[in-house]
Amino acid sequence: MNLVPHLPALQVVLPLLVAPILVLLRDARLCWLAALATSVTGLCIAIAITGQVLDGETLRYAMGGWAEPHGIGLRVDELSTVLLLVVNGASTLALLGGRASLLEQVGEPRQNLLFAAWLLAVAGLSGILVSADAFNIFVFMEISSLASYILIAGGPSRRALPAVFKYLIAGTVGATFYLIGVGMVFMMTGTLNISDMELRLAEVGDTNVIIVAAGFITIGLALKAAVFPLHAWMPNAYAFSPHIVTAFIAACSTKVALYVLLRMDFFVFQKNLVNHEWQFAFVLMPLAAFGILFGSIAAVFEQNIKRALAFSSLAQIGYILLGASLITVAGFNAAVLHLFNHALAKGALFLAVAGIGMRFAHLRLDEVRGAGRRMPWTLTAFAVAGLSLVGIPGTAGFVSKWALILAVLDRGGLGVALLVLIIVSSLLAVVYVGRIVEALWFGEPAGKDQAVREAPPMMLVATWIAVAANLWFGLDASLPGELAGRAAEDFLRHLP
């Protein structure tokens, strides 16, 4: 049997079917091994798909043998590939380093359910990315969301439960809004297939129904992607989930929602809503700008490391959205690059935080003072990944930030204002990363922390692989650059 044509399906089906098996297994170690093996295989599939996409193919797959639009099609292009790499890579690294941390924070008896939920989250997120069908995306959004709620609820503190409940309500409202919008589009076009929708919307693009549908879809997805000001669920959900779960979720979950937002708004609606072309750019751009500013400022004043990084994510989501809302090829290119590079930086940072979390009960700045002297490897990793987040040359973060700066400068007067915004928020990033690093390295240890020692070797390996990826893609950005560049060309073809 030739596996190659089945790769897009296997990307989803493999974790989807290993998860039920894990429910029936009892041995915690075996479950971890199975989850890790599945995740590694998933990453290999994603890499193989990337190879094919780089050869200039858009992969298609007809589920059930039924051709689109009657059946559900899978479709993998450059934009989906970027995020397939992120999702499967983040899952693999987090699982590789996370066994000890998850055992400690979630407890041994529930490990099988935890890893089952983990694989379901991977399957759900991958399923969204490969799908060519708006309703199918909703189904996999449900799988990934439910699974993420379970993972976050595994946090050791009781406060994880209210945090996850808030996320559950926000996420459900978001998904329902998306579904209402898709239902309205279906009512007016009779199709659920995204490419078919794009064609058939041309005739009905000026009806109330479609305008309202676009609004529902945008707001619903913005809620799931934690776009300012719909981010209220995010800081606590990140802060109280198990540390390793944060590393995984923070790297990919909101980005996949953002992917669907970009896909629907800019590939489907943008050219079809006659006289409403401005609506995405001019609604999303100010939100992006406020998000960048608010997130960076909130991160500066936050005492809890994980919450500070969560607010920083809010700002980074703003960058991605800002790039897309410029509606230029350069802007979209920068947005896609930043999707990839921010996942690298934030994933590495949260992995380092997970390492610190194994030695300190609380991740408040005043409690982890001086930790760097006892766990230098973890803290060096944190510092380097922090540089990537700030956007220092030589790191991945710089590549996308530079691309974004060039893209905004194309926009004349408005561009200068946006440039000032980016520079201010980058300086704020220097402050919030700097004060965490300062406390960790130069703070006086709180005293009785003789037990504090370096994080376990597996955790260090995973963290440093992530850090190395930040440096590698900082020096040689040809892979994400090529993918983002082609995604931007594709984006151009969908503009009016």
Binding site: M1, H6, A9, V13, L16, L17, A19, P20, I21, V23, L24, Y61, A62, M63, G64, G65, W66, P69, H70, G71, I72, G107, P109, R110, L113, L114, A116, A117, L120, A123, G127, F135, N136, V139, F140, E142, I143, L146, A147, Y149, I150, A153, G154, I180, M184, F186, M187, M188, T189, G190, T191, L192, R200, V204, T207, N208, V209, V212, A213, G215
Partner: protein
């Protein structure tokens, strides 16, 4: 006439929904929600959507009411007074409703045969079902084969719900409490003879109906989802009447876990088999020499998978709630 009846039922729905919001007593709220679902089921039936109506009745009015009642046995019956004034929330809801209302001005009229939904993909499903699947119920053909991958996804959603409940309040969860004896869930309604007798008479018929809905789904409304919910309702009803342990002795929780995971695996296994036989994932045509026979076989097996998972998950969730005592 149908329009008048539908509008009447929808008005009752609105009144019931307001009743749910206003009710301070959670028991009342749960009961009203059951009534709401039953009304919606009637509306769906009037709109010629019997499959949806059956699902709404079985899941909305049946199983969710029972599960909410078992959840209610773990918490206080009265809602906390005070809290936040829901003015802002009400405003948001009203604005959202107004926007949806605004959207309907341009929508094609109800039942318009020229509406886009009837002209494009859906119009092709009817001849495709006749020629390539050959079963009378087009809805089953859409769910089980044309969009079978979505259905697999939904089965996994159901399984994920069970994983979540087991993770949070299952036997392995921390702070697991066992119900004190004398709890309703433990002892059932042993002292309520009329309820027990009437209830027990109903159980065999519910199971029979579940099997009918399961295996007749190709011909009439129904299928695995509804059948699984009905089967679960029968077992849970038995548990409510005779106590949790009696229900556990019918199907042991370990078996339920196997059912929940096994149904999804059976469904997915069909897809893997078709891949191994040289087809696409869930391309039933390759299962047998004759593509129509093969479609029938595929649909039969995946519907069985759906039914097994749904029944297993729902009963598991019931047990998870019933095994917890009032804090």
């Amino acid at each position: 006439m149908i329009a008048v009846l539908t509008i009447f039922l929808l008005c009752l729905c609105v009144i019931t929904a307001l009743g749910v919001v206003r009710a301070g007593n959670l028991f009342t709220a749960v009961m009203l929600m059951g009534i709401y679902s039953l009304l919606m089921a009637a509306v769906f039936l009037l709109l010629d959507a019997p499959d949806v109506a059956l699902t709404e009745a079985a899941v909305g009015a049946g199983i969710s009411t029972v599960l909410l009642l078992s959840a209610l046995s773990l918490t206080a019956e009265e809602e906390h007074a005070g809290g936040i004034e829901p003015v802002l929330a009400a405003a948001v809801v009203l604005i959202t409703a107004a926007i949806i209302f605004y959207a309907t001005f341009d929508k094609p009229p109800l039942g318009d045969p020229d509406a886009p939904v009837h002209r494009h993909v859906a119009a092709d499903y009817v001849p495709m079902t006749q020629e390539q699947v050959d079963i009378p119920n087009v809805v089953t053909a859409v769910l089980a084969t044309f969009r079978g991958y979505d259905t697999l996804g939904e089965v996994v959603v159901v399984l994920t719900a069970a994983i979540g409940v087991l993770f949070l309040i299952g036997p392995d969860a921390p702070q697991g409490r066992h119900a004190p004896s004398g709890n309703l869930a433990e002892g059932g309604l042993k002292h309520h003879q009329p309820l027990r007798i009437v209830g027990k008479i109903a159980i065999p018929f519910i199971i029979l109906f579940a099997l009918y809905v399961q295996f007749h789904g190709e011909y009439s409304p129904g299928g695995g989802f509804q059948a699984g919910a009905l089967l679960a309702a029968a077992i849970i009803l038995y548990g409510l009447l005779e106590g949790r342990h009696a229900a556990a002795s019918v199907i042991h929780p370990a078996v339920l876990r196997t059912m929940a995971a096994g149904g999804a695996l059976l469904f997915g296994g069909v897809g893997v088999t078709t891949m191994l036989l040289g087809g696409r994932f869930l391309e039933y045509n390759v299962l047998r020499d004759d593509p129509i026979d093969a479609q029938h076989l595929g649909i039969l097996v995946i519907e069985a998978g759906v039914g097994v998972t749904v029944a297993g998950v729902l009963i598991l969730i019931y047990h998870a709630f019933a095994a917890r005592g009032r804090p």
